[in-house]
């Protein structure tokens, strides 16, 4: 399922029967028909094509945001755990305060400052999301830095940076990988939620959350506008959650 979603996202321009901006004012708000398998929206655009292009946005956000989160979170967490002392104290305090802030609220705030747009969604999710990963990395590094293999590396003359980057962090990867897999559906959800309330992706670029948000106003008369993107979101979230469960079970037999 996840692979299928990725394929749809990558080949959106080949798969979509119409361009996502192509309007047909003769056929507004139509239900599913032969020409338009999932109907048309209030501007006469093909719902199916918009959903296919929406997959691209969701996947981009889901995966892209994780890259930012890891690039920020892992080094900060690792440094904090390895150096200890005042650096650790300062970083942990920042992490704690950010942790207390309700996540979605923070993202919405940052988005209202930056304005809608794909790049800004990356920034907003990245800036608010690194805290969890940093916490986890720190805990791992704290446990691992006392282990024999780290001592051995130091005894062989490796400097602090090398021990940390080459020996400790690779051994701390398992929980990070698990956290990242669970982070994907969370980021997809965040994007959908932002677009739903209108501070996410700018129209005319289609996004599932935005389609649900717009369609929800016409739910009574044109149910198809809302239902199909909703199904897309639900299926995507479920498949990535199962992927996360699978990855966790595979990598961490202790948790069973």
């Amino acid at each position: 399922m996840v692979i299928a979603l990725c394929v749809v996202a990558i080949f959106a321009n080949v798969l979509a029967p119409y361009a996502y901006t192509k309007t047909n004012f003769g056929r507004l708000n139509e239900g599913p028909s032969r020409d338009y398998p999932l109907g048309t929206d209030q501007l006469g655009r093909d719902v199916l094509s918009r959903i296919i292009y929406g997959a691209r946005i969701s996947m981009l956000v889901g995966l892209g945001a994780q890259v930012i989160i890891v690039l920020l979170g892992v080094p900060i967490g690792a440094l904090s755990g390895y150096l200890g002392g005042r650096t650790d104290l300062a970083l942990t305090r920042i992490v704690d305060v950010m942790y207390a802030f309700p996540r979605l609220l923070f993202v919405i705030l940052v988005m209202s400052m930056l304005g809608a747009g794909l790049a800004n969604i990356f920034i907003a999710i990245g800036v608010t999301g690194w805290v969890g990963i940093a916490r986890q990395t720190r805990a791992q590094v704290l446990a691992l830095k006392e282990k024999e293999f780290a001592d051995a590396a130091r005894a062989l003359g490796a400097g602090g940076g090398r021990v940390l980057a080459r020996h400790i962090v690779p051994n701390a990867l398992t929980p990070i990988v698990v956290a990242v897999t669970f982070g994907i559906p969370e980021a997809i959800f965040t994007e959908a939620a932002l677009s739903f309330i209108g501070v996410g992706i700018n129209p005319p670029t289609p996004s599932w959350g935005q389609m649900v948000g717009e369609g929800q106003q016409y739910l009574r008369s044109y149910w198809h506008l809302c239902v199909f993107p909703s199904i897309a979101i639900a299926v995507t979230m479920l498949s990535f959650t199962f992927l996360g469960d699978g990855v966790r079970d595979a990598l961490d037999p202790k948790l069973q």
């Binding site: 996540r103 400052m113 309330i197 149910w223």
Partner: protein
């Protein structure tokens, strides 16, 4: 314990201040000022009049001073006047909307805890059998499916296809059902997952074995021995649950047109109503921080093995 509690309560103050500071900075980092003479479509006032206006609203003072004034007023419950609903102060709007949100949240919380506990226990008792799979599926769907998507399905199923409940509003108890259920399902999934894990853990412990060995039948074993001990770890998820219900209420309230805080938040976001945004963020932040604190303290109280 007392020292721990005091320290935690004192920590609330810097946390809230940090929240206020972040919100304040974000607001001021947003491009445009009410009195920007260069901006497009700016007010055509003379520089003197601009300066007078700035002085009138305190905009000519340094940022830190404006922040201090804001915090000073916020502490007294004065958040200024809404940009969109000009005739009403933010405090008035919040005073009307907050009770609605609290009621919706409390009902959703009750449904989530009761339903989640039931599902979790059923799943654990029938581990790896049909009931387990059913419960786990419901729990996973509840956690994974965003609640605005759920809301759409709820409306289609229960008010358009089978017209049992109205599509929105908050006037009659019948209108309360769908928003409450929609809001509850996510947290219900969280509670169910945790309860299942905790009950499985306790069911295998020695004292359960002893209880069974005494000849007790299944029901007292589960209710008196297992559930009592399994509840302790479940309390820890109450904190994340408050957050889930709080942020979830934005979407549920706007879809079901519930006149609560979440709906006002979404409306003020689209209307760039900054005084409203700040006030709502701070209200939510404060509420969640207090709730998290309460959960931690209750946890320490429930489990005498925990020492701070």
């Amino acid at each position: 314990m007392l020292i721990y509690a005091t320290r935690r309560i004192l920590w609330l103050v810097p946390t809230l201040l940090a929240m206020a500071l972040v919100t304040f900075l974000v607001m001021h980092a947003t491009p445009g000022s009410p009195l920007d003479p260069i901006a497009e479509g700016a007010n055509p006032l003379t520089p003197e009049a601009q300066r007078n206006l700035a002085a009138r609203y305190g905009l000519d003072r340094p940022l830190w001073e404006q922040f201090a004034i804001f915090v000073g007023k916020a502490v007294q419950g004065d958040f200024g006047t809404s940009f969109v609903y000009r005739s009403r102060t933010v405090a008035e709007i919040i005073g009307e909307a907050l009770p609605v949100s609290l009621m919706l949240g409390a009902m959703a919380m009750a449904v989530a805890v009761a339903g989640g506990l039931a599902l979790g226990v059923v799943a654990a008792v029938h581990q790896n059998r049909t009931w387990d799979y059913v419960s786990v599926s419901v729990a996973t769907a509840g956690v994974a499916v965003p609640n605005f998507v759920l809301a759409v399905f709820m409306i289609i199923l229960f008010s358009l296809m089978v017209p049992l409940f109205p599509t929105g509003g908050w006037e009659s108890p019948r209108a309360w059902v769908l928003p409450t259920l929609t809001l509850a399902l996510g947290p219900l999934g969280i509670v169910a997952r945790f309860t299942r894990a905790a009950v499985l853990d306790v069911i295998r412990s020695d004292f359960t074995l002893t209880a069974r060995a005494k000849g007790l039948s299944e029901a007292p074993v589960i209710f008196k021995h297992v559930l009592k001990n399994a509840l302790i770890p479940v309390v820890t998820v109450l904190g994340p649950m408050f957050a889930a219900i709080g942020t979830g209420s934005f979407f549920v309230e706007s879809i079901f047109r519930v006149p609560g805080l979440g709906r006002f938040f979404v409306l003020s976001m689209t209307g760039r109503d900054y005084p409203m945004i700040m006030a709502v963020v701070l209200t939510y932040g404060a509420f969640l921080a207090v709730m998290n604190l309460a959960v931690d303290l209750v946890y320490g109280f429930l489990d005498p093995r925990i020492r701070y």
